[in-house]
Structures are given as C-alpha cells and as structure tokens.
Symmetry: C3
C-alpha cells in the first residue's frame, strides 16, 4: 500500500469513528452505525470524485475502503457505551480526520492537474462534506456551520499553505504534510 493510500484509509477510518459516535448519540441500531459511519467516511471523497469526473469513485475502485469504514463502525458499536463524553471524542476525531482528508483531497486534485483554485476547493470539499452529510442526516447542527469560522478557515489555510510549498518546488508529499499539519493545528487550537 502506498503512503497515499495509507493516508486515505486513515481518514476513512477516523471519519467512520465519528459517524458511528453520532449514531451512538442518536441511539441507532447496528445498521445505523454502519450507515452513518460509512456515509461520513466516504462522503467527501465521493463528491470530490463525482465533481472531478474521475474514471471511478475511489471506493468503487478499491472496496477495501468500505471494509475499513465498516470495521470502524462496528468497533464503536461495541465500545461507545464505555466512553465518558462522546461529544468530545467526536470533535477531536473529526479534527484528525478533517486534516488528513484535506491533504488527500489536495493530493488527488494536484495529481489530476487541476489549477490552484480548484485544488483548494477540492481539499475543502474532501475535508468537510462527509461530516456535513453525517450531521444533516442525523439532524444535528453541522459542526461546519456552528463552528464554521475556524472549521472551514482551517481547511482553506491548510490548502493554501500546501499550495505555497508546492509553488516553492517541494514534492507533493511535503505539500500534503504541510496542508494536514496546518489544518490540524488551527482546528485543534480552536477546540
């Protein structure tokens, strides 16, 4: 597995944890955990791939993503009752998943030869849309809207920093690391 695929699976796994935790707060059954977990995990990347008209949506090309998301959902199904504050876990895990997903969306768009503007938009979409769908379907106030100023700004600043690093001649991997690092730093600093 390449470093890129490893990052992508990480973001899918952690986003699925947050989706399943929201399902736990809403007292859904195991199918609700799997559904919300998987929707959150692959939602942002799916919208990105549809918009960019890729040959195949990432989880159809490699179904292992769905397996990872399902495993994370089942894990939460059995452990959520042991957690003290699911809300705090959701916010922190969401910050981790968000920063990794921003870097993945950034890398996908750069690899497809998109210009800097679309690269930044795709990084934001990959980072935020899964969580937005999670919150809308579960009828919670979206983190994106309730904590919007710092939430979306963190993604945008991360993507801009990544673009600046690429523009200075750094390899894509470094640009992605900078994007993830700055997004997480800004988001975590505001929690």
């Amino acid at each position: 597995m390449t470093a890129f695929a490893l990052l992508d699976h990480t973001s899918v796994f952690v986003f699925a944890l947050t989706g399943a935790l929201v399902a736990s707060r809403a007292q859904l059954d195991i199918v609700g955990f799997l559904f919300l977990g998987t929707l959150t995990a692959v939602g942002g990347g799916t919208i990105r791939d549809l918009l960019l008209n890729r040959d195949a949506v990432f989880w159809i090309a490699s179904p292992s993503y769905i397996a990872v998301a399902s495993a994370a959902s089942v894990l939460i199904y059995f452990t959520a009752p042991l957690l003290e504050s699911r809300r705090a876990w959701i916010v922190w895990l969401d910050a981790i998943a968000l920063s990794v997903a921003v870097a993945v969306g950034f890398g996908v768009a750069v690899n497809l030869g998109q210009g800097p503007f679309i690269v930044a938009v795709m990084a934001m979409i990959t980072g935020t849309m899964g969580g937005l769908m999670r919150d809308v379907v579960a009828n919670e106030v979206p983190l994106l809207l309730s904590q919007g100023e710092i939430y979306a700004t963190a993604c945008f600043a991360g993507a801009l920093a990544g673009l600046a690093v690429l523009w200075l001649g750094a390899p894509l991997g470094l640009g992605m690391a900078v994007a993830a690092g700055l997004t997480f730093g800004l988001r975590a600093g505001s929690v």
Copy 2:
C-alpha cells in the same frame, strides 16, 4: 420492453406511489406530489448510475421513467383522500418497491462487470436511497434508520442470496428473482 425494463418501471412506479403518499401526509400541493414522487422513484437508481459512471443516467436515456413516476404521483393525488391508513400503505408499498429495486440494482451492477462486493452495495443503494431522500426532504424519520436493522439487512441478505445463485451457475434473471424474493420475504415478515 424487456423483462428488465419492466421490473425497473415497476419499481419506479411503486416508489413514486410511496413518495406521493408521503406528500399527502405532509399536505403538499400537486407539485409537491410530483416532486416527492419522482425523487423517490428515481433517486436510488440515479445515485447508482452516477457512482458507476454509466454513459447516461437511466431516466435520461429513457424518459418514460419520469412519465411513469408522474402518472403514479397524479394517481395518488386524486385517490389518497380515500385511503384509510396512508402510513400502512406507505410501509407495504415501500417493501414491494424496495425488493424490486434491489433486484434491478443487482442486475445493473452485474451487467457492468462489477465484483460481488460492489454488486451488493449497489443493490442496497438502489433499494434504499430513494426512500431515504423522500424521508429527509419531507422531514420524516427515515424508515431506513427507524427500522434499520431489518430494512437494510433484508436488502443485504437478498443481494447475497442472488450472488450465491449466480455463483452456482444460474442465469442473471434467476439471481435477480432470488434477490427480490428474499428481500421482500424478510422485509414483509418484519412489518
């Protein structure tokens, strides 16, 4: 019209009935009936076709699907006031549409040469997403989430049984029939 197209039109027609019945419960006007009826009828198949990157979404390739969905919506507009329990009608018609749609999604994915995992996922998406969009737009608790355990399990079991039959060498039509039959049996048994 092939047997396949006949099944597909059936699922579109019955799902449109359920969408229009939800519009009736929400006391919408004729446009609300047409909108919710059509959205429910073609929603699952549209998401499936976008995800699988088909050349054309099914109802753009053959607009007769929209005509069928519109006819079903108008039919309910005039007959809904005569029904005793719209909720019971919705649940039963939804079970019928669900099982037929699972078989159609199963057949489409097999015909496109997808592997068994994606075939099962596409069967579930075709079966459940139209009804989910119906319930989200109408602000009702989704049947998929409120009765999730048996609802999604029925689709999944139906798809697995269909795959098993194909694996034993049966023709696609038989696999689809088994998928529809088991989905309906499990779903109906739980209503």
Copy 3:
C-alpha cells in the same frame, strides 16, 4: 465573455445573494455566508452537469463562477444588517435568479442535443435545486415546497414556451429569453 456566460454568471451572482441572505437570517458567521451563498449559486447547475455527464462541471471548467458567488456572499455579509426585510429580498431575488437559471439550463440541454422532455427537466433542475439545497441545509421550509404550485409551474411553463419558440424555428437565444421572461412573469405575479 459570451452572452451565455454573462447570463450564467448573473444567475450565480443573484442566487448567491439569496443564499447569503438566508445565512444572515440564520445568524451564521462569514464562512456560513460563503458556504450557503456558493451552494445556492452553483448547486442547480452542478446537479444538471453531473446528470448530463458533461466533461466538466461548469464551475470547475471556469472557476470565475466561484469568485462571483464569493463576492456576492461577502457583499451581503456587510450590507444585510442595513436591509429592512430580508425575507422579501430573498423572495424577489430568488424569482430573478430562478428565471435566469431556467434559461441557462434550457440552453445547456439544447446545446447537448437532448430531447424536449429532458430539456424541460434540466431547465427545472437548474432553476430549483440550488434554492432547495439552500433551504434544506438552513433548515427552512423550502420555497419549492411551500409555494410549489406556482414556483415549479412557472419553471415548467417557461421551458415549454422556450421549446415552442425553438420549434417554430427561432434561434436558441430567443428561446432562452422567452423561457426566462415567462418564468419570471408567472413567478413574480404570484409573490
């Protein structure tokens, strides 16, 4: 810039105004204005382009649309507090954006060689879906459903009139003008 692109940017700009006004009513921060403004502005055209399987979604091909939507959102962020009745502004601006978007969707579908039925459906989708997503995300009752009879009927009648004009041999521009004019007349007459 062609007349077509000018119309399209107009519809994007005015729809973004309405989305940002809804964000103002919901007391969101600047990111909420940008998000709701942009979603409303490009939502209908994005769904149209995905359904029609165009080579690239319009705002990915020309990122100027996102810049226009962002400018409109920021404009409202600073001027909304000065407005007396944001609700009245939303309804009137929505009527303008709706009629222009219907004409644009009409023109795009005709240029892609779609038949009259799909042309009418795409005109309606381009006109109504951005506003529907705006209202669903902001948790307001959709204008499309609450005022559905005249709202969707206006789009449909506009598209039909445009088709009739084309059928009589008129150039596409005239068909689009007729579609926009009739949609606006019917919608404005009902406000």
